[in-house]
Amino acid sequence: MKRREFLARAAAASALAASAAAGLRCAAGGEPSAPAPGAKARVVVIRHESLAAEGRGPTAAQVRELLDEAARALAGDAKAADAWARSFKPGDRLGIKVNCLGYPTRPAVATGLAAAVGSIGLAPERIILWDRTNRELKAAGYELSDAGRGTRCFGTDALASRENGGYTADVFSSGSIGSLYSRIVVDDTTALVSACVLKDHNIAGLTCALKNFYGSIHNPNKYHDNGCDPFVADVCAHPLIRERLRLAVCDATRPQYQGGPSVRPQWQWPYGGLIVAADPVAVDRIGLEILARKRAAVGLPSLEAGNRPVLYLASAQARGLGVADLDRIEVVSVGKAWLDVG
């Protein structure tokens, strides 16, 4: 698709979105993204060939441009900065939680996102790209930085000298879980984005926006029974996450439909997409649908048939974290149709 054609389609999608309910969360935080009864959750799936490139993949600049478009489509604003400003304030301290375990979120997606949100006047120094450990971030290609200038990037373990290995001293309970949370969340952020990657998970079935926050607690190994249900929902339902989480941006540039969470190139394909919404449950549900369609297309059994259905989405919906019912999600498709998984 030519760029002009693409942008024309994007503009049309923005107009469509403008007529619907607001798709971005209020920057003031508070209650999460579950839409009012009867209203639909809105998810933007934006696709472009630049995202599907093999090797180094898209640049941060390319990602930023597409995310700006996605934000406009989501919020119905003409200007991207206006759209971002619905969810973030210049005074925020933003934590972009990436997933570096196994198959990682591409650094360009995270840095492109940081640049896009920064357009509202949020200083780079107030943005942290983070995950559990410096080692995992480096292995995933992230450039560690906590020098005081520019976007920061480090793991929870980098705060070990602050307290308790970088985690809270006390246990926070939420439903079935009891965990220490990362001090990055507690001390260093007022807002969070789940910058996840779309991939299969050998136990949970899916790891995307919600399960990404297993990287915010000290004991995720304790919560993999029963397909991680309801533990994933409980981790995200704690106010520490729930009240900070403003947006989910899923790296679906080259999703992996089997063999996750580790890297299995033979089961990745160039989908070339980013999935963006305020509702992390809806992002997961759309991501799941994409993986399910791809699995069917290549002749793999469904996750249900493989005895690993994604159970935690229903629990997340029950906790008011968002919408898991596909018929209650409005997908705004920008670029190639979102269900075209060929």
Binding site: G165, I203, N219
Partner: protein, 399 residues
Amino acid sequence: MSGMARREFLRAVGAGVGALSAVRALAEDAANSSAAEGAKPQAAVHDARWFDRLPDKAVRCRLCPRECTVADVERGYCGVRENQGGDYKTLVYGNLCSTNIDPIEKKPLFHYLPGTLALSVATAGCNLECKFCQNWRTSQYRPEQVESIVIPPENLVRAAKARRTPTIAYTYTEPVVFAEYVYDTAAIGRKEGVGSVMVSNGYIREQAMRELANVLTAVKVDLKAFTEKFYAEQCAGRLAPVLETLEVLKDVGIHTEVVTLLVPTLNDSEEEIKGLAKWLVSHLGPDVPVHFSRFHPIYRVKNLPPTPVETLNRARRISMDAGLRYVYVGNVPFNEGESTYCPSCGKVVIRRVGYNVDSSMLKSGACGSCGRKIAGVWSQEDALAFKPKPPKEAKAGGG
């Protein structure tokens, strides 16, 4: 350090779990020993011993009843075992986060070398998650989240000998999750005249337990309750595998003591304690020492009071009425249930105050008053002479 008097050493390392100064002292010993002998300290990452390989670089852990299927780059439930490209590794081989020299009574083991000391060590991790865990700041952490120092097995044995502790205790967290280190250290200890006791939740598969029994000299098992409900809701585990472990230990013939922490309203009913005691009598015999310990609110159970002393005394009475001969009350100093009484004449055989042996009337493993044999392991020679009996199936088959 090896020349330091016991009292001086104990004062130096202090009491309680997590005395990293003691870890450092051991590490210094280890480093000095290694340097002296030209040996290289071993890394904490070590091949796991009990697992199966699965397709696509996955593994199935065969150490504990969870039998985690672990994909590449992931860890098992315990948080200390990791699949690294299809090879299953323990991350805590000698990676000690807690060391102390404790009275053996603190484990508690009351019928095993009373009045002696045990060099007590732990790594991070556990294969259960008890909401009332007293050591959760190490047991519920991953190895990279706690301060620790690697001490190879031979150096730990050397440290025990230098301190003249007859026993190494694998304790505090859960030795099942560092079983490879337990096995290797205990094997060396046996050759060097140092016994090894495992203070465990008993949540381990039979094969691994039998292999460990080849090198251990005693085991203490936490039987956390006698209902599946309690195990499921409070410990994220199951009761049945623990009972199976107790039966394996009985079959093997290793000295075993049982501890139950009584948590008010959750596992302290008369009916449950009766059931537990009857099961122990019928499956392990009346001579197995049983300890009912006092709960204190901690970790995720802070809404319940400490166990009333009367509850513990009642549990002791119920269990003795059910036929158990040696039943104790734990975590309640100066309680009469701390001492050992002769089942025949009723006189005190070993009087304890807290973790200390105040006086002993034990003579050659028998009551000093009436001469009745008291079940237990009373000498280091007996401890080191232990050899596990072969499995019943093997005996039935003529092997």
